[in-house]
Symmetry: C2
Subunit: 217 residues, 2 copies
């Protein structure tokens, strides 16, 4: 019986890694579509979002089935409840990748951001991709040091996000209102993407260290 249960917990972990991989593919394609104005790539991200949503829903159903059947206690219960929260965050990360791709689609054949911010958004995109890679690896290996690294990479994203606002609010900014809207939303989507990854990382770390209040936050 316990062996079956351990197998089920392992299945939950495998599914989280799979969803994280889908999110990684989406953010990789979305940021490339965004930065290079590649509408075909943007469309791939937009249609792939349903797959992420379905995978997250299916994981939730599995987790709830396990709660029914196995009535897990203590740490096992925490793992299953945390999995429900992580799947919600991953699903939201997929949505944000889709929003980034949609901006690329709306502005096609133009680029979403003016040349002066192209470099900053290349960095923002690369950070989100890096963070999604680390998150996938963290979920796969449970190596909690990766959690610290994700949080420090998230700090880099916050600084880049702030620098976008600094640029837009400087006297040198010559963008039209439409550019300003796009840049503001795009920067916010990149920032929220990294925030969700940092929040998942915190849960994995707290589960490993046994601090339930933190995993729950």
């Amino acid at each position: 019986m316990r062996e079956v249960f351990q197998q089920e917990l392992y299945e939950v972990q495998v599914r989280l890694v799979e969803i994280s991989e889908l999110v990684l593919q989406s953010i990789r394609k979305a940021t490339e579509a965004f930065n290079e104005s590649d509408v075909a790539l943007a469309d791939q991200v937009i249609s792939a979002d349903r797959e992420i949503d379905e995978a997250a829903l299916s994981l939730d159903e599995l987790a709830i089935e396990i709660l029914y059947r196995e009535q897990p206690m203590a740490r096992d219960l925490r793992i299953v409840v945390s999995a429900l929260r992580m799947s919600a965050s991953l699903e939201r990360m997929g949505d944000l990748a889709q929003h980034i791709a949609q901006l690329a689609r709306y502005r096609y054949p133009d680029r979403v951001v003016p040349d002066s911010l192209h470099g900053t958004f290349l960095k923002l995109g690369a950070q989100d991709v890096l963070i999604a890679q680390m998150l996938t690896e963290l979920l796969r290996t449970q190596d909690v040091e990766l959690g610290d690294r994700i949080r420090s990479e998230d700090d880099v994203v916050d600084k880049l996000h702030q620098s976008v606002f600094d640029a837009v609010l400087s006297p040198d900014w010559t963008g039209e209102a439409g550019n300003t809207v796009d840049v503001t939303l795009a920067s916010r989507y990149h920032e929220r993407f990294a925030d969700h990854a940092a929040s998942i990382a915190k849960k994995v770390q707290y589960l490993a260290t046994g601090d339930w209040a933190g995993a729950d936050a």
Copy 2:
């Protein structure tokens, strides 16, 4: 034993209503602070956010204690798991109210939005307050018809949100880049606030009708 458990489920519901009331107070004050440039009110919202976070965390701890102790099955299990998700949404609604208040604080003594959009943001604020009121009432009464009304009020918010972009992108828009950023973020915060309420409403409705996949989404 079952009586104790029913008492505990009732306690979960009471706590959800309490948090929803805190969120209602926050969004009411935040939108007034935002529209009237009332910095004292904005500060109240900003310091009250910790209270919402703590109430949500404390509800999560209660829900998880119930999972441990009572090992609920079927519909009872769904209620407890849904409560965890609803508390996460309410906590996020509190964050968004705080973001709206912070914009008021940053721009004080100026108003955040130019006169041309003042009326639209009054409507957006009133919609979010109305939706938070309905949500509190829905959580209190479990009257599922309120869920439909919340969703239709959320559609109104989406249209207002779209009209903000239409205004900013029209040739008549004379706002500076800073105004454009503020208006874009403010509109997005109002829209996400209503989205979360609609998502909680969907969960309450699905719990009432027994469609677990929907409650889980």
